[in-house]
């Protein structure tokens, strides 16, 4: 109780009047905090926060550029694919055209060759026929003369007569053949 009485005696009249030593100590205490935080610690953390922000921004930029690159590659690839398809279609078209041309050429060539062959065959046949006809004419003449000589027993010395007779005979033969052919 004694202590409390002495204390009460020390109580200042007004608690709103600041004691100077406390004021000084308070200011010193605050300025130490302020000084260290403002000069060292907060710049420290601000630097780190800035770095972090830049890092994040950098990462985002990187990601964006990567994405852009990927899209570019995709676009290129698609363009190439489209080109390739186009090229393939063109080649196919060309090949078809070439094939058609080739076929047409081959056809005309074949036609031509066939006609040649046919013409050659005709010519051959004609020549053979003529040769055969000549040979026949000669042989028939000889055979006919021999035969008629044998039959008649007389020699036909007169060549011209002989020849005329043969010719006449042959002409008759030929006329008969032509008539038969026309009648066919």
């Amino acid at each position: 109780m004694n202590a409390l009485v002495t204390m009460a005696a020390e109580v200042p009249e007004n608690p709103l009047i600041p004691p100077i030593p406390e004021l000084v100590i308070g200011l010193i205490a605050f300025f130490i905090v302020f000084g260290i935080l403002a000069k060292k610690l907060l710049p420290n953390i601000n630097k780190v926060l800035d770095e972090r922000r830049k890092l994040i921004e950098g990462r985002m930029e990187e990601a964006e550029s990567l994405q852009a690159e990927a899209q570019q590659v995709l676009a290129d690839y698609r363009a190439q694919l489209a080109d390739a398809r186009h090229e393939a279609a063109r080649l196919r078209q060309e090949a078809q055209e070439q094939g058609a041309t080739l076929i047409a050429e081959m056809r005309t060539e074949g036609q031509r060759q066939r006609e040649e062959i046919i013409a050659a065959g005709h010519a051959q046949i004609e020549a053979d026929r003529k040769a055969a006809a000549q040979a026949l004419r000669r042989d028939v003449g000889t055979l006919a003369v021999e035969l008629s000589g044998k039959i008649v027993g007389e020699s036909l010395e007169d060549v011209s007569r002989q020849s005329r007779t043969v010719d006449r005979f042959l002409d008759e033969l030929e006329a008969g053949a032509t008539k038969a052919e026309a009648g066919r």
């Binding site: 004691p19 100077i20 030593p21 406390e22 100590i25 935080l37």
Partner: protein
Amino acid sequence: MSAETMLAFETDCHIFSGCGFDAPGLHNFVFRPLFTINGFEFNKPMLLALLSTVVVVGFFWAAFGKAKVVPGKLQMIGEAGYDFVRRGLVYDALGKREGDKYVPFMVSLFFFVWIMNLWSIIPVAAFPVTSVIAFPVGLAAIVYILWVYLTFKKHGFVGALKNITGYDKSLGWVLPLIVVIEFLSNMIIRPFTHAVRLFANMFAGHLLILMFTIASWYLLNGVGVVYAGASFLMTLAMTAFELFIQAVQAYVFVLLACNYVQGALAEHH
């Protein structure tokens, strides 16, 4: 036994024993010096104020001393506190461009005030430093000086006077009244209330906790045990409430500081 080490339960004074209740009062806010150097008396609030410096600087040193881009737990907590003051208070009132300059001051102010308040509910310390008027006055004075300096720097002598007195010709005949009121309000009442708001809240809070603590002990006799229990529960409730009030008062103190700075930088209207 010296007063500052004398605790409530060291007396044998209880109810129903013919002993009066030793109500807490102003004497609980006066401490005998812990030691004296050349007439300078070093007492408990001073010690706690310096310990606040140690705690705040220590914490931020541990958190930001070797700050990393990928933060550790402590750094994350520090960043959260830093960001709370920076964005929640400074940028909000002043904007990012204007406010950046004042961030270190406001951050220091907030955490210093908060820790000084917080001693109230720390065992052994058990005293809010800001309930000694000298500490809030010192801090409010810094804000006041900053405000006056910024007002005159920003607006020049005449502009600053206009800003401080709320001078506006369109007010007509009430102008003289406004000028007097505004001048008193800005130059005298505002810094006073700035300091006293913090002081009175902490003072009252400490008084309440003391009151219920002492009563819990005093009532501990016979049927008084029931009252003592109720009083003890109130002590716990008030302690929890104080934890909240301490943060709120630190917040309000810095919020007002930001507003004053903002007012100094704003164009007068």
